[in-house]
């Protein structure tokens, strides 16, 4: 995918996808003139197969599928360094958010779904309990991701230090939270929100 010949035409450039990214992120990809500053400062650049500037470049060419097929967006740490330093105020962190959301929605195959999984669990936690309970989060993540022994030694230590709680309770106002989730879903269904 990465090195495949790129045919450019009105048909092959997925402008709709790019417009969606722009709407979600509130940031224009056309503003980017490829100075490379985002990639220069990105702590995660070395982990990505498309460094941040190339993500924007691919979007400029309407190549959403090339972006989503890669792992770059899942390696973004949301540190906002790129956004902070961009000379054209391209909010790359927000574009990354938007790309992750679109990938999330499409739920398409992603080699990098660990992060996706962690995020999913995190949000489920909120919906169920109102607050995060890290032990549960970690345990379920490890279970679901099949990494049963990951950080095995950390758990008891943290427990002993009182950093993880064995027991937890739901928020009293958990109904309000559910309402928020429901109404967002409702808006999306109606097409009132992206």
């Amino acid at each position: 995918m990465k090195n495949k010949l790129m045919h450019l035409s009105n048909e092959t450039m997925n402008v709709g996808f790019v417009k969606k990214v722009e709407a979600l992120s509130g940031s224009s990809v056309r503003r980017c003139f490829q100075c490379g500053k985002c990639s220069a400062g990105c702590p995660m650049s070395t982990f990505m197969e498309h460094p941040p500037n190339r993500i924007v470049r691919l979007l400029q060419l309407g190549q959403g599928q090339r972006v989503l097929a890669g792992r770059s967006i899942w390696y973004c740490a949301s540190c906002e360094t790129c956004t902070t330093r961009c000379p054209n105020k391209v909010d790359l962190a927000a574009i990354m958010d938007a790309l992750r959301k679109l990938s999330w929605d499409a739920d398409g195959p992603s080699k990098e779904s660990y992060v996706q999984l962690a995020n999913r669990l995190f949000i489920e936690n909120i919906r169920t309990y109102g607050r995060q309970y890290e032990l549960r989060l970690g345990a379920i993540f490890n279970m679901k991701s099949g990494q049963f022994l990951k950080d095995l030694m950390l758990g008891p230590k943290l427990l002993s230090k009182g950093k993880l709680k064995m027991f937890h309770s739901k928020n009293r106002n958990i109904g309000d939270i559910e309402g928020i989730f429901k109404r967002i879903e409702e808006m999306r269904k109606k097409g009132e929100a992206l």
């Binding site: 790129m6 035409s9 224009s28 503003r31 470049r57 060419l61």
Partner: protein, 665 residues
Amino acid sequence: MSRIGVFVCHCGENISRTVDVEQVAKAAGEIPGVAYSCDYKYMCSDPGQTLLKKAVAEHKLDGVLVAACSPRMHEKTFRKAAESAGLNPYLCEMANIREHCSWVHEDREMATEKATGIVKLMVERVRKGKSLAPITVPVTKRALVIGGGIAGIQAALDIADAGHRVVLVERDPSIGGHMAQLSETFPTLDCSQCIMTPKMVDVANHPNITLYTYAEIEKVDGYIGNFQVTVKHKARSVDESKCTGCGVCMTKCPKKKIPNEFDQGHGMRPAIYVPFPQAVPNTPVIDRENCTMFQSGKCGVCAKVCGPGAVDYEQTDSFTVEDVGAIVVATGFKLYTIDRKPEDSPIQGYGEFGYGTIPDVIDGMTFERLASASGPTGGKILRPSDGKEPKQVVFIQCVGSRAREKGISYCSKVCCMYTAKHTMLYHHKVHDGQAYVFFMDARTPGKGYDEFWRRAVEEEEAVYIRGMVSRMYQKGDKIVVMGSDIQVGVQVEIEADLVVLATAVQAQDGADLLAQKLGISYDKYNFYSEAHAKLKPVECATAGIYLAGACQGPKDIPDTVSQASAAAAKVMTLFAKDQLERDPVVAKVNEKYCVGCFACKKVCAYGAIEEKEIRDRQGNLVKKVAYVNPGVCGGCGTCQATCPSKSIELDGYTDEQIMAMIEAL
């Protein structure tokens, strides 16, 4: 000369790093006749110059030698300083111990020895120097402007507005040049003709401007302030004094299908024609090569329909001699074509682009004509092959330019901006079309320029692809363009309907020949050379000739107009005085010993030497001797080297000075 001052400059550390300047100053002090010597950190600085002036006064110096940088750098500075100290400026010389010594040698001892040697030589030069007074020559306050594009028009109008008479000579039947061909101009998208044609009319109506179109420079004689220029008026076959510009001849001409040069060959014109409707003057010319009357002797329709009887098949080339004091050269540029390499071109051509055989691969100027409301398509973007509206247009920059080994090494400067403009015009006219631009760098220095380019990208949705096109070929009615996006690192292929090439800006055809007539120098690309890249950007090395516009190098309209006005200002500066002062480095004849062999006259490239009769009181001819017209003399000294008895001598480079220097080796 017996009281010479020697000032040795450290030039910060530039000289003192390798040359022991104290030692040099000391050695200089021991040369007989040197009354004062010293070294100083920066002689060219204000305190340095003050030091010099003070020393001249205190030590009653009658000659000054500054051992510092190249005289090409600071000779004027120090001569001025010497002058303000009451010394004749020509008694101040420079010894070049920086460029010719400290910068090129590392061994301190040897460099110091060399610097001392240079100083010794130059002290002799100062010792044998003579006071010289500037030479004055009269100035004819009438200017010649060559080229009627925007540069020539601007320069002519400026000079004319200042109250001086101007002769404007244009090679084509109308003034206007390339700017008249453009559709809209960056970065404001003004309609080019809308801003151009009023200026053209101003030229035609200006009482101080004499306009010669369809005319060329035949010969240039004379010198600054006093040029005699022979202008060749090509036979127009239409009497300008009779023609009313009604245009009937053009409508009646039976031969109408001649590709119009003005439309880059994409529109048609008759054999008797004006290049475009707003032409100035609106007098047609007959294209004799395409006229049936001239080719077969049968037709004569235009003469028959011409009411005032202006058509004149018998007209021949005529010549006038114009006396002018200054010349502005504004001959503009031509665009490179990707065709197979012509015999004498430095550019190899572009086989990978089909050597220009693909009909829908056009150059930028053709696109201008397609986009122009007055162009062959009435402003619609229609491709040449089938007249269809192209939906995918690929623009390619740097075609010919910046290709050191295959084309020319320089950047054509205007293409980045006009291509951005083209994508905008295209987007405005074809809403559902997509423009792609292959580029290496977007070079947009200029007020509002980068913003303009960004607008093309961000708002007009041109897809800019950093990377070059390797090849293109016809596939059905499409042109397959194979390029790369080096930012993504992939090959890119686009099936385009139209390809527009930003081809290189080159010097006009015949620019070298004109330069030879004018006696001005030009670079290897035939662009005219300015006297100094930074400080004399509009002057030529040949005094009295100035440059405006793209004949000196690729330039956009604002830069061209600026340079034209600058050239005009230079002309006005020249015309501000009745007499012109010039460097007195000219030859003089010793009439007592001149025997009138006139070898000097034979070798003088300037024609500065005349024969002068010496008569006694009774009016009897005693002898004929040479006489140098100081206004004409260029100061090369070839005459002196040729004169067997050395009865002619170049001030500033006398045999006495040179021999003394050789003596001091």
